[in-house]
Structure formats: C-alpha cells, structure tokens
C-alpha cells in the first residue's frame, strides 16, 4: 500500500486514537502513517453488531415469553456463551444451563444472583427485571 492510499474514513476508534499503518513512500521504502479508520472495517464491525442486536432482541422475547430466564438476555447482551459466563460467575457450565430455565432461576438465592449481577454490572433487581443501564 502506498502512503497516500492509507484510508482515512473516520471510525469510532478514530475519534479516540488513530492507528499506525505501514505503507511505502515514493521511493518504495516503508514508513509509518496514521489512519483514522477504513470503511471496510467499519461495516464489518457494524454487520457484526447488527447480528448481536438481533440475538439480544430474540433473547429478550424469549425471556418475556417465559421460555428462558433473564440470564439469557444478559448473557447475549454481554456477548457471552454459557461457558464464558460460567467462568466469570464461578459456576459450572451445566449450572449456568440450568439457571437459564425460568423456573430454576426464580428459586436462586440472592448469593448466587449477586454473582451474576456483578458480572453484568447490574443490581439483583435489574437482573430479575431485565433493566439495562447503558454505561
């Protein structure tokens, strides 16, 4: 890539920091150049987030339909799967899978709920009522 071809499409990262790119100058020698972002990368990220938003919406509906416990919603919201959530909350994967069932979730004591609430940065009430505070 030539130095003058380093893309400068402002990304959300570009507002905070530019990225270093290696590119060639007129004599063909490699130099560094700062980039604000690249449209192709921005849309790849956007595409990914659209998919995540969809998964969250589906999860939310499942919770409202009592097909899943609120954990599913927060799990998707935090881009986690059962293994990862188990790792953060200090449970086994099979325990998390059980807790994803609404009936079993309702019977969880506050101590266990608190472990989940901490992972998601919410209160126990928020966890039960799927309240989200956007940080």
């Amino acid at each position: 890539m030539k130095k003058e071809d380093v893309p400068q499409d402002l990304s959300s990262l570009g507002k905070i920091t530019k990225e270093v790119c290696y590119a060639t100058d007129k004599s063909g020698k490699y130099v560094t150049e700062l980039s604000k972002g690249w449209d192709v990368k921005i849309t790849a990220l956007d595409t990914h987030w659209e998919e995540i938003e969809q998964r969250i919406a589906i999860a939310k509906q499942k919770v409202l339909n009592h097909e899943a416990s609120p954990l599913l919603f927060f799990m998707e919201k935090n881009l986690m799967d059962a293994v990862l959530l188990a790792g953060y909350a200090g449970f086994w994967k099979w325990q998390v899978k059980r807790h994803l069932k609404p009936g079993i979730f309702k019977k969880l004591n506050n101590k266990k709920l608190q472990r989940y609430a901490e992972v998601f940065n919410v209160t126990i009430d928020d966890l039960k009522n799927i309240n989200v505070h956007e940080a």
Partner: protein, 339 residues
Amino acid sequence: MCMKLNFEHLQSAHCENGVTRSLLKNIGINQITEPLAFGIGSGLFYVYIPLLKINNGPVIAFRPMPGLIFKRTCKALGIPVVRQKFNSKQKAETFLNNCLNNGHPVGCQVGVYYLTYFPKEYRFHFNAHNLIVYGKEDDNYLISDPVMETVTSLNSYELERVRFARGTLSPRGQIYYPQAGAHITEDQIKKAIVSGIKKNVREMLNIPFPFVGVKGIRYTGNKIKQWRNKLGVKQAGLYLAQLVRMQEEIGTGGGGFRYIYAAFLQEAYAYHPIDELLEISKMFTESGDLWRTAAVQAAGIYKGRITSQEDFNIMGNYLIEIADIEYKAFTALKNIKWA
C-alpha cells in the same frame, strides 16, 4: 503508592510488537524497531480452525499465540525474560506492584471486553491484547497501550478485571518483562533475523495440516466458495465479516501484517545486503494489497451489494491467489543463501 517510572510511550501497529519494542527500548536496547520485533519473532501466521466457532463464526487467526513474539524476539537476542501467570488475583497485583517498585515497566496480557478506554464497538471477548504498566498514582495504574496514540490509565479494579478476563486464551494475570543489563551486538541481530525468517518459513510452509500456513489460506479460499450454498447468503456474509474483522482489526491483521513483514525485510536488508530480500519484500507488499482487495470484495458481500455465487468465487480466488504469492515468497526466503 505513587510512582511513575521513566518510560517513553511509543505507538505501534500491532500490540505485541509494540510492547516488545518499548520494553526493550526501556532497558537500553534501541535497535529493535517494530518490524524487526515482528520479523525476529516470526509474527506471520495463519490458521483456519475447522469445526470450531467463535462469536458464531469461523475461527481464523493471523498471528501466533499471544506472548510468542515477545518470547522469541528476546530469546533470539539472548535477553533473559521474567514471565509469570497467577491463580490468585491478590498475588498478581502484589507481583505487579513489586515490579514497579523495582523499576520495571511490565507487559501484561489482557482481555479487551472490559478495557474501559476502548470504544464499546471494539470490545469483544478477545484475550490476546497486550499493554504496558509503567507506574501507579493513587489507585490508578499508568498504562501505555501500544495501539493508542497517548498513554492512559486503569484503576486497580479495572486492571484486575482485564488481567483476569475469562474464556479462550485467558491471560491469568500474565506479566512479562526483559531483564535489564543485556547488551546486544549487530552480529546478534543479524543472526536473530535469519533464525526468525527460518522459523516463519517453517510455520507457513511445513506444518502438515491443510488448514495451517499458506495451505490454510488456500483451504479457506476453497471453503469460501462453498459458503453461499452451505450457509445461505446472509450467514455466509456474516462469516466474511468475521474474516475481515479478524484480518484487519486493531492489533491483529492480515493485510497490515504483510506490510509490517515487507518493512521487516527492507530493514533486514540493512543487516544482510542480499538483493532477494528487497524483491521478496515487494511480494509481501503485493500480498498485503491483495488481502485488502479481498476485504473490499468481502465488504460488498456482507453489505448485500453483491451476492451471487460468482462473487463468492471471486472472493475465494483472491485467497487462493494470495496463497500462491506467499508460497513463492516463503520459498524464496527458504532458498536464500545467508552469508
């Protein structure tokens, strides 16, 4: 505790190169630029892991395991390294504080998801990021993140959270730094360049799995052609978006890595005046350009602008062409007669 080590923040294209370069510079080794660290550390890699999924898409890696570039570069240059992982968060913080008290800025492997100074859109459960801690003021650790233009900070809770991120490649508080006092000669750098290139040639050409190295790139190219029929246009588009994210995202990179490697070969020429190095450098530039062209094609597909089987064939063929170029480039590197 309030202390700030004398440390110069340097921005880099790739986090681990940056950490390596900065930590070495901090102990008085100024010759190792980012491309040299990348090349001596054999930073080019490729693997497409079949059957496994991450973020509901294919697992594709453009780099060796986190920590390897630092480890190999220091080893090749004969610099002793201190490296530690922890089971206890308490011990991990005590160790960090001791390092700082003894005057060592340290590299830390961290997860990106809870990294508060990154924009939300970039925060995934990705555990192979590296940063440097170079001091502490009250409860705030002073951070030099090589992909950022300026220094930043994390409070002790935030730092603990990213050092103990969970999931694939969890860092487990991993800390590392090169020991001071080493002095390296030009001759050592010359030897390190040769061993770094040889190792990279082996990793890209000689690993006997069809989905690793140059073969892996060709394998992915062939797979992509089947994605449309197998997964449907929408899912196949998401897969390609994932490929591009893995390829071009900060700290990782397919296209970007080729340019750094091309820059490395130019710098290697200054130590080993062998004309082939400059020619092969151009081949990696060509490959990097083609990775970027492929990303543009992928973007056309995941934006839904072009979605025919022919478009997927073109996409797959770009990767096959890249594999051909890189096969030639690495074979040429393999055949160099080092003085």
